[in-house]
């Protein structure tokens, strides 16, 4: 912690960064912090409750963050994948951001939870994590942490759904998507949803109906998932932001598995590796095509 705070003080004092974006203690657990003066550096914390993917604040369509100056962002390994996504998609240039990596031993599901990691509290995304020490960083702080407890709950649920008939899956998803109010919190919380104007906000033509009936909700969630295929870093922020509890991670994780199976691609924190959609191989699988 001291390492992180000292670094923050130095970055701000030297004028290298205008704002350091990390985590602080809020009334309901950890939350994003925007540190703009060295004096506030001691507010910063890092523990297993720091679940937020702060790469979201690097979205170029956030004038209120841009106004604070050049950002230095604290990233876990999974967050660094999102930063790599932004770099890959030319939303950010590497010299416009300072990345402070933290070694991570897994996080809990919500920032209000106690920091103790158990099989019941650990976030599903930490299962199979391959970037517990982020590589795409300018500074790396913190000590190595022990492996988190393993939970394969998400993959288990996906397997259960896969085992059902299409009709049963349809019933499951209609009951889930009926709750959707189309607040688009899932989009806003997503670090990779950075479009200047989201397809669902476009009206000429209106591809996706904005009404929260099931027809509009299906069009939205199919499109959201499809647009994130091969791009989603699996941080789960969409599901955490959803005020009605739609299990969006099931869809995102399913597509991660699909992309792995079809294109042998796993989302990476190397911005030089192209995303699978937008690239192709001449010998891609095509058994589904007649």
């Amino acid at each position: 912690m001291k390492e992180l705070r000292d670094l923050t003080r130095k970055l701000l004092a030297d004028g290298d960064a205008g704002v350091v974006i990390g985590w602080e203690e809020g009334r309901r657990g950890a939350r994003p912090a925007f540190i703009t003066t060295p004096d506030d550096a001691d507010k910063l914390i890092f523990d297993a409750r720091c679940v937020h993917n702060l790469a979201n604040y690097l979205n170029p369509r956030k004038p209120q963050v841009k106004a604070l100056g050049k950002p230095a962002v604290v990233v876990k390994g999974c967050d660094a994948k999102a930063v790599a996504g932004l770099l890959r998609e030319a939303q950010l240039t590497r010299d416009r951001v300072i990345l402070i990596g933290v070694r991570c031993g897994g996080v809990v599901q919500t920032p209000e939870m106690p920091a103790e990691l158990t099989e019941a509290t650990v976030a599903t995304r930490c299962y199979g994590c391959d970037v517990r020490e982020p590589k795409l960083v300018d500074h790396l702080v913190g000590d190595a942490r022990p492996e988190p407890p393993v939970t394969a709950a998400l993959d288990r649920r996906i397997a259960e759904l896969d085992a059902l008939s299409p009709r049963e899956r349809w019933q499951f998803w209609t009951s889930q998507l009926a709750k959707c109010t189309r607040c688009h919190a899932c989009r806003q919380a997503c670090p990779l949803c950075h479009c200047e104007r989201c397809i669902t906000d476009k009206t000429q033509p209106q591809w996706i109906e904005s009404s929260s009936h099931l027809r509009g909700n299906f069009a939205w969630h199919l499109t959201r998932a499809q647009h994130l295929a091969g791009r989603c870093v699996g941080c789960g922020e969409c599901e955490r932001a959803c005020p009605v509890g739609i299990p969006l991670s099931l869809i995102n994780r399913k597509l991660q598995l699909v992309v792995k199976d079809l294109f042998d691609y796993t989302v990476t924190d190397d911005p030089e590796v192209p995303a699978p959609i937008g690239a192709y191989a001449v010998d891609d699988k095509q058994e589904f095509i007649e």
């Binding site: 259960e160 009709r167 027809r215 192709y280």
Partner: protein, 181 residues
């Protein structure tokens, strides 16, 4: 196209099929099927696009929204794309989208993906007939068409915030399972 042997279920169900085809191969192939007077089902409405690379997954969604029971997406064979690589990109996207539809409970049998070249009039006939037969067997896609429901419900109360607008019964298929809990 001749409107002869339209596959029909006994109840007279004629599936509505929307076909999104590329301008260079499949459209020409379909044209050839017509000029060759090949007999095929007349249930297919063709929408011509420059390339399969232009065909967005939302086209399929919109087709279902507006009443299609099945969809055909067809274009040039690999290596034949007029724009070099449009069909390769489409292949990746539809490979993913097909799995996504399946996962969300949209029977992928309702969507046919095919490569039909300009000379393959006979293949187009087969693709059409097979798709129509398969979708006829599946029945009308009312599940999708009625998603928004007839929400002007006369004296009925409007749906509550957690009810499907259609008011349709959604029995819980997962009661026995741990899914989504």
């Amino acid at each position: 196209m001749a409107a002869t042997d339209t596959p029909m279920k006994p109840d007279g169900f004629h599936p509505r099929i929307t076909a999104f085809v590329c301008n260079w191969c499949t459209y020409t192939g379909a044209d050839l099927a017509g000029t060759s007077r090949l007999q095929m089902a007349s249930n297919v409405r063709i929408i011509r696009l420059p390339c399969t690379g232009r065909i967005d997954h939302m086209f399929i969604v919109k087709a279902f929204e507006r009443g299609a029971d099945g969809v055909i997406v067809s274009g040039c064979h690999p290596a034949d794309c007029h724009y070099t690589a449009g069909n390769y990109h489409a292949r990746r996207r539809f490979g993913v989208f097909r799995e996504l539809m399946d996962f969300m409970g949209i029977d992928p049998q309702r969507v046919t993906f095919s490569w039909v070249s300009a000379s393959e009039g006979a293949k187009w006939k087969d693709v059409v007939n097979e798709t129509v037969a398969r979708v006829a067997e599946l029945g009308p896609f009312d599940a999708y068409h009625e998603l928004a429901g007839d929400t002007v419900t006369g004296g009925e109360p409007a749906p509550g915030p957690f009810e499907a607008a259609s008011g349709a019964e959604t029995p819980d298929p997962l009661e026995e399972l741990e899914v989504g809990r």
